[in-house]
């Protein structure tokens, strides 16, 4: 999913695929069901990847579209076409600024979509790109974004097969918006989706969290701060292939983008009805991310990542999968961070470093910086 940063000055998006099909409503008589009625207009939180985003999908999009493919709670849809099982996904990228330490909107647009496919176990094959350009944006800027798209696609081993360009009037866009869609083949015997999380599963994160969100914030207008943090944006198809080589029976994969690791764990717990126990001290967080989050008043668990995944692995395969991850460049910092349990179904509970416990919840919308 597209990163949108954690702060209100950024942009916003909502992913389909997190909904449950309700009854189809009569469009002529349509009114926003509770709790959307609290916000008769779109607010930034609807794109924050938290509870408001989920409600928008569940109460507005899913009833309007009403089909079973959408009902699966996945980053990419698994569809049957002819004899093939395909993963299919789309995502729009509205990040500001366009270029940030460690990457650009072009890298995100390729890696984000490649990674959404990888979370179904698929190796990305083809991408589309659609540019929405604002009148007046410099062509060399568009050129740099296109170069980044090309380089990222090459690195991820995926081809851009089709594309589109539209221009909106000055003041009606934010320089460059970018949408990518992607398809890839799901290997036989692979069935990765959040509903498959099972008590006993070992939860592994592929590396230190929070770098992408902090890197973007560090150069955002009005918030520039000195930081050596660079985005973790990277394609994860190779890492997933290495994990699947150990066993095709990975239960859940998710890339904790917008909303961060906490949001991914909450969504998986809710979708599967299992409890998740997170060992807070085991979650790898770079010192520089801890520092930046400390003074911004943000929680690293909720900060976006663009090159990390969280995996729910059956216990008998956990050691071998972890070892395979450590042997791959994208998984060198992988760590076991928790387990699935039968207690507190649907809920994530963190064991704090000091030995206490607390509930980890979905953020309502965007994380808000605190006053003091």
């Amino acid at each position: 999913m597209a990163d949108t940063g954690a702060i209100g000055a950024g942009a916003s998006g909502t992913a389909i695929g997190t909904g449950v099909i309700d009854t189809v409503v009569d469009p002529a008589n349509w009114s926003c069901p509770a709790p959307l009625r609290d916000h008769p207009v779109v607010v930034m939180g609807h794109g924050g990847g938290g509870a408001l985003s989920a409600e928008l999908t569940q109460h507005l999009f899913s009833p309007a579209y009403g089909n079973e493919t959408l009902a699966a709670l996945t980053d990419s849809a698994a569809v049957q076409l002819g004899g093939a099982r395909l993963a299919f996904t789309t995502d729009s990228y509205v990040v500001r600024p366009l270029f940030f330490p460690g990457g650009s909107i072009g890298d995100l647009a390729v890696n984000g979509t490649v990674n959404d496919l990888a979370m179904s176990g698929a190796r990305a094959a083809y991408l589309s790109t659609a540019f929405i350009l604002e009148e007046g944006v410099r062509l060399d800027v568009v050129g740099r974004v296109a170069q980044a798209v090309g380089a990222a696609a090459s690195a991820a081993g995926v081809r851009v097969a089709t594309g589109d360009t539209k221009v909106v009037e000055s003041g009606h866009g934010d320089g460059v918006y970018l949408n990518t869609s992607g398809i890839g083949l799901i290997p036989p015997g692979v069935d990765i989706r959040p509903q498959r999380a099972t008590p006993g599963d070992v939860i592994i994160v592929s590396g230190p969290i929070g770098a992408h969100g902090v890197a973007v914030l560090s150069v955002r207008e009005g918030l520039e701060f000195g930081s050596d943090v660079v985005s973790d944006t990277a394609p994860l198809g190779g890492l997933v292939a290495a994990m699947l080589a150990v066993t095709p029976d990975l239960h859940v994969l998710r890339d904790p983008t917008r909303g961060g690791l906490a949001t991914s764990l909450c969504e998986i717990a809710a979708a599967s009805g299992t409890g998740v126990v997170l060992t807070e001290s085991a979650v790898p967080v770079p010192d520089s991310v801890t520092a930046a989050c400390g003074f911004l008043g943000l929680d690293p668990l909720y900060v976006a990542n663009e090159g990390r995944l969280v995996a729910f692995v059956p216990p008998e395969h956990a050691d071998a999968v972890l070892a395979a991850m450590h042997d791959h460049p994208q998984g060198a910092g992988a760590a076991v961070i928790g387990t699935c349990v039968t207690e507190h179904p649907g809920m994530v509970v963190a064991r704090t470093g000091l030995g206490g416990t607390r509930v980890v919840d979905l953020p309502l919308g965007e994380q808000l910086p605190r006053i003091c």
């Binding site: 209100g8 010192d287 400390g294 605190r370």
Partner: protein, 367 residues
């Protein structure tokens, strides 16, 4: 990271906890004043690790929580004006006024911007001279110096299109009001470390003496809080009531003289309403007469906005430590972070939100 990891060390925490367990002989109720401390206590599970005899009562020190509904409504009225750029710290945007919040105003086309410093709002005012730029100046003694500085700078630089919507509150009068309440159970205070880093500790010996309560200046990281509790328990067990500084790396007795001078120049002490509690005499600051022209309430004539609080919300009793959040009948039912009746459920530093977010497994609604 320096000053974060060191103050989160499990082995050192264990030692402090052991000492607290060894010292305490009977029940004590102490109030942590600041919402940042409440957040840290609940987030790290510190209250679960303390002896049963030590009860932490969550105080009124969350600036978002105590800002009166009426002031939020004034902010909404000003932010809705087409000529206004309304700047605020992020966590004020979700606080419900009457019927809507600043997010909603933004969604409806209002120019509402999150800034990290009031000086950023001044920069916007300089860049956009055709707009009226208003900063929502709320908070305790911690945010007052920067807000005062911004008004000072606006005058010095001749930036006339900037104004401040002021709702500043002061901690010592609130402590006094809490101790004067007949049903008060508080026997000691963990004073708010960052407030004291600005103001120093001179305001507290009188309070400690008058109400015969220990007041221990306390920081925000887990070890800071445990050290504050340790010293408080020690005083209580010995029958002492002194002011102690358990946060010396940030707090000097004289405070921050430059910050104090800036507050003195720009603000004057005034009565102030606290959300859920009511008016506490001398408990706030407003712009002094000399800076009245920078006061957004006067500039935009919102003096006639009058609002009553929800009668179902018992946040006032929570803020005074009279009930725990889960003892409010609305807790977790009609009142959640999604549908907050009062500001203690909105801010991440609010006691009700902290209980709801982190403690749903153990606490169940009462009543």
């Amino acid at each position: 990271m320096k000053y974060v990891e060191e103050f989160n060390d499990p082995a050192l925490a264990r030692r402090l906890l052991d000492e607290i367990h060894a010292t305490v002989t009977r029940p004590w109720a102490m109030m942590e004043v600041c919402g940042g401390q409440t957040h840290s206590i609940i987030r790290h599970g510190i209250d679960q690790l303390l002896p049963d005899e030590v009860e932490l009562i969550h105080g009124p020190g969350c600036p978002v929580c105590v800002t009166p509904l009426e002031m939020i409504d004034k902010a909404l009225a000003i932010a809705s004006r087409p000529d206004v750029v309304f700047c605020s710290f992020g966590d004020m945007l979700r606080v419900p006024g009457t019927g809507r919040d600043l997010f909603r105003v933004k969604g409806e086309g209002g120019d509402v911007r999150v800034v990290y410093s009031p000086l950023d709002a001044l920069t916007i005012a300089r860049r956009e001279p055709d707009k009226q730029v208003v900063f929502f100046g709320i908070g305790f003694e911690t945010t007052a110096p920067a807000n005062a500085m911004t008004v000072h700078e606006a005058r010095r630089l001749g930036i006339g299109n900037f104004s401040l919507l002021v709702s500043h509150v002061r901690v010592p009068p609130a402590i006094d009001a809490i101790m004067r309440a007949p049903e008060c159970r508080v026997q000691a205070f963990l004073a708010a470390g960052h407030v004291c880093s600005v103001m120093g500790t001179a305001e507290y010996p009188g309070l400690a003496e008058r109400h015969r309560v220990p007041i221990v200046v306390t920081g925000f990281e887990p070890l800071d809080i445990l050290e504050g509790v340790r010293r408080t328990v020690r005083q209580l067990e010995r029958g002492e009531h002194r002011v102690e500084n358990a946060y010396p790396r940030a707090v000097r007795e004289a405070g921050n003289p430059a910050a104090l001078r800036m507050i003195e120049e720009v603000f004057e002490v005034s009565d102030r309403a606290w959300r859920g509690i009511g008016v506490i005499p001398d408990s706030g600051w407003r712009l002094s007469d000399a800076f009245r022209e920078y006061d957004a309430e006067y500039r935009f004539d919102v003096g006639d906005v009058r609002t009553e609080e929800s009668c179902d919300c018992r946040s006032g009793e929570v803020l005074q430590g009279l009930i725990k959040p889960n003892e409010c009948p609305a807790f977790g039912g009609t009142c959640t972070p999604r549908t907050p009746l009062g500001a203690t459920m909105v801010s991440s530093e609010g006691a009700c939100a902290a209980y709801y977010l982190y403690r749903r497994l153990e606490v169940t609604p009462v009543g």
